[in-house]
Symmetry: C2
Subunit: 349 residues, 2 copies
């Protein structure tokens, strides 16, 4: 967020332009934030939640602080609209829940103060996210042995959060502790977040990284190059079933077949305890052209049928531990999850 509540705006790195261009975009209205989330200019479960929270403030700005009803409606309409940007990552809904609760709990305030208060809540979501990243990094680093090869899928790094990531926080933290890790980054078709974003983040921070195609993961495991797998998450059900970028479930099965531990790193805001298991997590289906024309060139025949789910669900029994900012969840089951998360986070803030 740049500037004050009344005329500030949201500034984002346009992740679709990486790694060849580092471009920041300024979003000055709700629809441009919605578009940035939908088109993955901003992506990663925590980062989506933060962007949406700030986006709601823009809705309030537009309505103006003169008329309190109109301001509240502007904020709530923006929140409702931003909820439609992407369906799977629960952090989006969690963050907007917090924004709406803030509006509700501050009924007595005047317009300018209410808008200020909502911006403060959005900033708090971002600030807590930074603390969360560091905490996940610290807890997760315990899982990493010196000299290990670590495979990751998609991007759960700084670009996906307000700080230095979830899965990548674990890697950065282990690297900083001198554990001499080597990362294998799945390129992650169709949108290549691994090649474009994870490889870029690791390279910038000096962590040794080798880029592979998704279909090479089994081979590097077989060759003994990988001793653990760690990925992020978009939504985790009460029993530990985890939705994450398409391909994660396959990687988890391959890790199991090679006896390699498979870990998920995610903040408590990624848990959706209202869902008993992963079967009811909504899976976003995306444009077939991401697959057929993803490289700027047509790579499949005209008119071909395409299946393009953006996420899959990894069953809890394939996950050896979930790293949260509150500690490790191990074994991954409903009881341990409840115990680790404690009372719902939103009621603590």
């Amino acid at each position: 967020w740049v500037g004050n509540a009344i005329d500030g705006h949201v500034r984002l790195i346009d992740q679709t332009r990486l790694p060849t261009e580092f471009v920041r975009i300024d979003c000055r209205d709700v629809s441009s934030v919605w578009e940035a989330i939908r088109s993955l200019r901003v992506r990663g479960a925590p980062a989506i939640g933060i962007a949406a929270a700030f986006g709601a403030v823009l809705g309030g700005q537009k309505a103006g602080t003169g008329d309190l009803d109109s301001l509240r409606r502007g904020l709530l309409d923006a929140s409702a609209y931003l909820r439609t940007s992407r369906p799977t990552a629960v952090n989006l809904f969690w963050a907007l829940d917090r924004i709406e609760r803030t509006i509700e709990e501050n009924r007595g305030l005047d317009g300018p103060t209410l808008l200020e208060r909502v911006l403060t809540e959005a900033r708090a979501i971002a600030d807590e996210d930074k603390v969360m990243c560091r905490s996940i990094g610290r807890f997760g680093a315990e899982l990493v042995g010196t000299g290990q090869g670590i495979l990751t899928h998609c991007n759960a790094g700084g670009l996906a959060t307000a700080d230095y990531g979830t899965a990548l926080a674990v890697i950065f933290s282990a690297h900083s502790a001198g554990k001499a890790v080597h990362v294998f980054a799945d390129e992650t078709r169709p949108l290549l977040q691994g090649a474009r974003l994870t490889a870029w983040e690791l390279q910038r921070r000096g962590v040794p990284v080798t880029l592979i195609c998704d279909n090479m993961a089994a081979q590097v495991m077989k060759e003994g190059k990988v001793q653990m797998v760690i990925v992020g998450a978009d939504r985790i059900a009460a029993n530990g079933d985890t939705a994450n970028k398409i391909g994660t479930y396959g990687v988890a099965l391959l890790a199991k077949a090679h006896g390699i531990p498979f870990y998920v790193a995610a903040p408590s805001s990624t848990f959706d305890l209202s869902l008993p298991d992963g079967s009811s997590i909504p899976i976003e289906q995306r444009d077939p052209r991401e697959i057929t024309q993803g490289f700027g060139r047509q790579t499949a025949p005209e008119g071909i049928s395409v299946y393009n789910p953006a996420f899959d669900v990894t069953p809890a029994q394939l996950i050896d531990a979930i790293v949260t900012e509150r500690g490790l969840i191990r074994p991954v089951d409903a009881k341990t999850i409840r115990k680790t998360l404690g009372p719902p986070r939103s009621s603590q803030s």
Copy 2:
């Protein structure tokens, strides 16, 4: 092959241009055939062998038929050179072995007749390949149930052979028999042979096909959309361990995890009984730029380290059957392979 032995030439479909352009290229010297194989303008184990056999004839042409020693040297040098084009698919070496044996066995002939005889051998390799495809299709179709979903990886179709393929022959044959199959084609990074070639071949022949990214295979299996997997092969060791396009080993593990049968379709010329198992099959490493700049756009940071093996080896125990032109090999083990293949094919021709 277009024209006669003295001044004819090799004509190939340039597979790197598909599916958006259908372009034929004419190769009039050995080095252009070598380049076409190396750069995957012609690819697929059987097709490589056929192209190389015809390529050797071009070496003889250049030497001329006037001096017999010079002709023989031209043919043998061409054969030796073509052997260096790609290391993994054994059909290349098998076909050139036949060419060299033909040269050896016809020492008594004059120049023009020898060149003619070598061309005849190359044509025989191509013609036998056509018969082989039909035979594999027939044997393999028995494995296919009505209404089944079939997943395939890379391209083992008409483009990879002289006729309608190995793995795809099975699918075409089942489709022709009215079995209402539906194919899921892995796009097959980095060079997208699945998206560009398999999807194109199936679409042209009216077989229902859905294109997926490699990392979606586990998900379509989990959703119950796939009842069998069938792929081609580049080299099969005496115990049944099978080298095929990178990603095949992972698909085999995923099929196992879902209880889905995994089949390989390949002619007897793809077996290399001199290797006891897959550990000694040479695996080609290809240019990192295939991954980082595969389709004209840079998709990874400058200077990133990349691992790009072109093949992997699927252990025999993950393969439920191998479909050859001589029948099904099931179970896949050294004894059944020896029994099915009988005496080495080359001594029968």
